[in-house]
């Protein structure tokens, strides 16, 4: 949220930037025919609309005042035909502009999504998901709106003024000059008002986010608020905030309520002028009654674009700011890319070697220093050590989500940057600490491991992972929906599915970040079974938290401060009585305490109560 706040402020400060504007416009290139189409229709709309007024003038002058019914019929028929053209053009511009707008949005979203798939981890690590989401959703919409409705508004407004001027000149050029003199004044007033109103609107938006934030905090912290008897003070503070918003919103509203009348009064001055001078000329200089009427209509006709102009300008500013953020995402370069001569390979089997590997996320904070490790094919490595020590970095480098800043990682004796990213990634099986599932069915989530797997293979993998039984117990079995992010399943079930997914992938390299959260004993046993399955087939790297996993590893590596503190088998390391010994005994105590908790016999009871009454304690 904080990021969004920061960017929202920028929105209004952005000035017109020619380069960005051109780049936005270039999005229309593939659709230029559509653009011509909708601009043409809006042109027809604008011209016919002005022409209607002109026809009414002629009905008055040539028909009514001249006492000629035939003329009335003749001009009226023209008017009737024009209605069809007008309606057709209205249909044209709404259909064309609307569809094109949707189309541009679709294109932009597709482009940015494509691009996102190629970006490296480093980008996602430093950019909040919410920020990227806004670029794909709201910014694409603003850009598309600018390219369609914005462009249409500008064209329409300009044409309205031009056509109205044209007809007025045709009717009586001297009087038109009076009107012409007023246009700059109208524009100046419109700009002045809009700036004032925008300032207030910006305040309203900022205050509105603050108010939402305050609500959020007061509701999530309501128990503390109550315990500390802060209700009155909080209301007082909130009222000040809400009062500020009231003032700004009210000011914006009455400035808007003043804007329209001011413009109207100026047009009235023009109309008054025309009556004054025009009236004198009805006989002298040939201005007709119909002409007076037409002038009055045209002046109103021109007023709207002026009123609209300011709104369009404000929206354009926003859209350009949106576009700048959007393009900044489009221009972000992936850090990990295929080398020009990289090649695919069917297998990533073989020994893995970290050779003097250096790594940092920020240049002055090294994470791995001179890291050396050779792992034989099929070996299982348990990585243990404190948080932030560098365990995740090692598996991220191995997965080539990041590349070493110094040194080399070799797979099967070759520098792994000689392979394509796809070659490496498609041979990996990864199970994360917090398993991530996608909306859809259980089957779809399993198939994610290997898209061409058939149902038998999927079931076989689920069985190996020990997930089959619980899946069959679901109402629709493998076709059960897992919900957004898998919310309909328990954490343990999600872990089993992500294990089965990895088994299905038949990986050469298996990477697992063991979950720290506890699951029930049965699920725990099933997870262990699934892991063993994978550890037998593949070269495995486990960021281990459980003693049972650690004991099973061929080698244990204790990582501290980006370096190997200790390495060896369970027995060897225990004998050393060093880091591993400390870690192990502490973990041992914790697990024992949990396992043999005298209260634990009541767990099932508690679970029932917790579902019946989430408030419990």
């Amino acid at each position: 949220m904080s990021t969004d706040l920061r960017f929202e402020e920028e929105e209004f400060q952005a000035q017109f930037n020619g380069g960005t504007l051109l780049r936005i416009l270039s999005q229309l290139r593939p659709h230029w025919k559509w653009v011509v189409g909708f601009l043409a229709s809006v042109g027809v709309v604008s011209i016919t609309e002005a022409y209607f007024t002109f026809l009414v003038k002629r009905i008055i002058d040539e028909g009514i005042t001249a006492g000629n019914w035939d003329k009335v019929l003749e001009i009226g028929t023209q008017y009737g035909l024009l209605i069809f053209i007008f309606a057709g053009a209205v249909f044209g511009f709404i259909a064309l502009t609307g569809t094109l707008g949707q189309r541009v949005m679709y294109d932009l979203r597709r482009k940015i999504f494509d691009h996102l798939q190629n970006l490296s981890f480093s980008y996602f690590d430093r950019t909040p998901v919410g920020w990227i989401m806004s670029r794909v959703t709201s910014d694409t919409e603003r850009i598309a709106d600018l390219l369609t409705w914005g462009l249409l508004d500008v064209t329409w407004g300009a044409l309205n003024i031009i056509t109205a001027m044209f007809f007025m000149f045709t009717i009586h050029w001297q009087l038109t000059l009076i009107v012409l003199a007023l246009i700059p004044i109208l524009f100046a007033i419109a700009i002045w008002f809009k700036q004032k109103i925008l300032v207030e609107f910006r305040k309203v938006r900022k205050l509105n986010s603050k108010i939402t934030g305050t609500f959020n905090e007061n509701i999530t912290g309501v128990r503390v608020v109550k315990a500390l008897v802060r209700e009155d003070e909080n209301l007082r503070e909130f009222d000040l905030l809400a009062s500020d918003m009231y003032r700004s919103a009210y000011r914006a509203a009455w400035l808007s309520a003043l804007f329209l009348p001011v413009v109207q009064i100026i047009s009235a001055v023009a109309i008054g002028g025309i009556i004054w001078f025009g009236g004198l000329q009805v006989e002298a200089l040939g201005l007709t009654i119909g002409g007076v009427q037409a002038f009055i209509s045209y002046i109103t006709f021109m007023m709207w674009p002026v009123l609209e102009m300011a709104r369009v300008y404000a929206e354009m500013q926003q859209a350009i700011a949106s576009a700048e953020r959007f393009f900044s995402l489009m221009d972000a370069k992936p850090e990990v890319v295929n080398r020009p001569d990289a090649h695919e390979a069917p297998s990533m089997a073989g020994d893995i070697e970290f050779d003097h590997v250096e790594f940092y996320y920020e240049a002055d904070k090294p994470v791995l220093r001179d890291f050396n490790l050779t792992v034989k094919q099929g070996e299982t490595i348990a990585l243990v050590g404190p948080t932030g020590g560098g365990k995740s970095t090692i598996v991220n480098l191995l997965s080539r989500f990041y590349e070493p800043r110094g040194g080399v990682v070799r797979i099967g004796g070759r520098d792994y940057t000689e392979y394509t990213l796809h070659a490496i990634h498609s041979r990996l099986g990864v199970v994360l600490q917090t398993p991530h599932l996608f909306s859809g069915t259980v089957r779809e989530n399993l198939r994610y491991g290997r898209l061409d797997a058939n149902d038998d293979e999927i079931i076989a993998a689920a069985k190996l992972a020990g997930a089959h039984d619980f899946i069959m117990a679901l109402e629709k079995g493998y076709d059960e929906q897992v919900g957004e992010g898998g919310v309909l399943l328990s954490v343990g079930q999600k872990q089993l599915i992500s294990l089965a997914r990895a088994i299905l992938a038949k990986p050469d390299i298996f990477i697992m970040d063991e979950a720290t959260s506890s699951v029930d004993t049965l699920t725990e046993a099933l997870i262990q079974q699934g892991m063993e399955e994978l550890m037998q087939r593949s070269t495995s790297f486990i960021i281990a938290h459980r003693l049972s996993t650690i004991r099973k590893a061929d080698r244990i590596i204790v990582i501290e401060n980006g370096q190997i503190a200790e390495i060896g088998s369970h027995r060897e390391l225990l004998r050393q009585r060093g880091h591993y010994y400390n870690l192990y005994t502490r973990q041992f105590r914790d697990e024992m305490e949990r396992e043999h908790d005298p209260f634990a016999s009541q767990e099932t009871d508690i679970a029932e109560r917790a579902t019946a009454q989430p408030a419990g304690d």
């Binding site: 009226g76 609307g98 009210y250």
Partner: protein
Amino acid sequence: MATSVQLPAYNLKNAYSKRRLTGFWRMMTGFRTLYFTAIVALGLGAIMQTATFLLIRYFVDTALLQPNLAEVLPPIALGFIGLAMLQGTFSSISGRLSARTSEGVALRLRDYMFDHIQRLSFTYHDGMQTGELIQRSTSDVDAIRRFFSEQAIGIGRIILLFSINFGALMALNVKLALASVIAVPIVVIMSLFFFRRVSAAYEAYQEQDAILSTTLQENLSGVRVVKAFARQDYERNKFDGDNREKFRLGKRFMLMHSAFWPITDLITGFQMLGGYFLGAYMVLNSEITVGTFLAYAGIITWIINPMRNLGRLIVQMSTGMVSYERVMTVLKEDREPLGEGLWPEGHLHGNVEFQHVNFEYEQSDAPVLRDVTFKAKAGQVIALLGSTGSGKTTLVNLLPRFYDYTGGSITIDGVELKEYARHYLRQEIGIVEQEPFLFSRTIRENITYGVGREVSDAEVEAAAQAAAVHDVIMSFPEGYSTLVGERGVTLSGGQKQRVTVARTLLKDPRILILDDATSSVDTETEEEIREALKLLMKGRTSFVIAHRIQTVMNADLVLVLDKGRIVQRGTHRELLAQDGIYRQVYDLQSRIEDEIEKELTGVN
């Protein structure tokens, strides 16, 4: 700088009505005169506008025929400007007053919602989702605001424009007037029908938008999985499917619009043309004057075109109605009467006695506490030991009257707990929660949060020092002014814990509740917190929730809870002598050490 806006007082709880329009009417209490003045001003503005057209009629029919044209024209010209100025004045008055109403109603509602929510009971909050409450307090309140600022006044405007202009037309010529509104019912019905349909189409579009966002969000948050399985192409296809569907629905929505507007353009166009024909015919037959025709041509646009938007406003109004209901279901709930009850002078002593206390939550009939009886003398430490769900937290939650016990009796200093005002109790009781909650304010504000009086910097620092958090705070560049939370520094669990301790020290309560205060803290800081807590407990009746023996060893009384009952009680020493859960827990510790030894000897 910031000041409060004074609004007419009204208890919004009374605004509830089954009939929603009645509800809106009540919500307007104190603003009704303003709002009706706004509508009257709107009508006067419309009259001025119509008068302009009648002035044109006078100008054409009468003025132009005068011989002394030069003398007649200036007043007419000034008349135009004058009418425009009047119209402008009225319409800006109307805008101002309706903004005052809508913003005022919204402000009053916002304040009320905010206060109401923080005064609702724990039971209510337990059953309500945060996001849902936030939405009702923000976007639903805004929908109600728009009801007043846009929809109600917009519909009023259309109706006024129609009646005033239609009235003027009737005055000009009845036949012409009647012939000019034939299309009005058609347009109104069409617009109602259309906007209902289109809003359904728009909802479908919005739903697809939500689906697309979910797909995107899952892709972004699951980027590790996507990359690890090299599934970029698969993801592209999935996104493209949803994206295409959104495009299709968006197009459908736009095409519906592209059908509605030209059709109504045709109808209104021909209605106007028909009116021109009839008018012209009548002029030629000398039934009406040229000036009347001109006035007619001007007025007619203000009758038909606004009607096309009536449907939109009515449909939007129904969303405001839904928001009203959503807000009202919150406002209907009863508040905790915080100040009601006994409010003794001075502080409590802290003698607490539970006698056969029972408790069960409203929605379920499973008792959470059963027959709990014990006595705590002022200044004693009572430890509560038990598993999750045994009722420990529930028990201490009864003391500040977060929940009211359903049976038995609790007394503090000999007075029944239910007699005390909730606010008084909460001021006298300090709580250090298991997962401390800090507010997005400065550290100083967090420490003084809830102290309820001006606190000097020296006092704040002394409290922080006592809570062993002063050095941590001073290590931040902005010291005590450092912001906590999203826009500031992130404090570790232990640091938050100690800020909470400092806060409680300043509050200086007579009764203290420590809810498993060391459980989420790593070993290094545990010792520091333990020290800080020891200091905090000094001289206060303290209830300590724990599930480790070390924490409860020094308590004056240990209560072992199981399924809401006290199954064992006594001091550490007494309990060790008994056969029971307490000794099992204690024994486990030593058994673990044995096992480790065994494991190690196996290795060697």
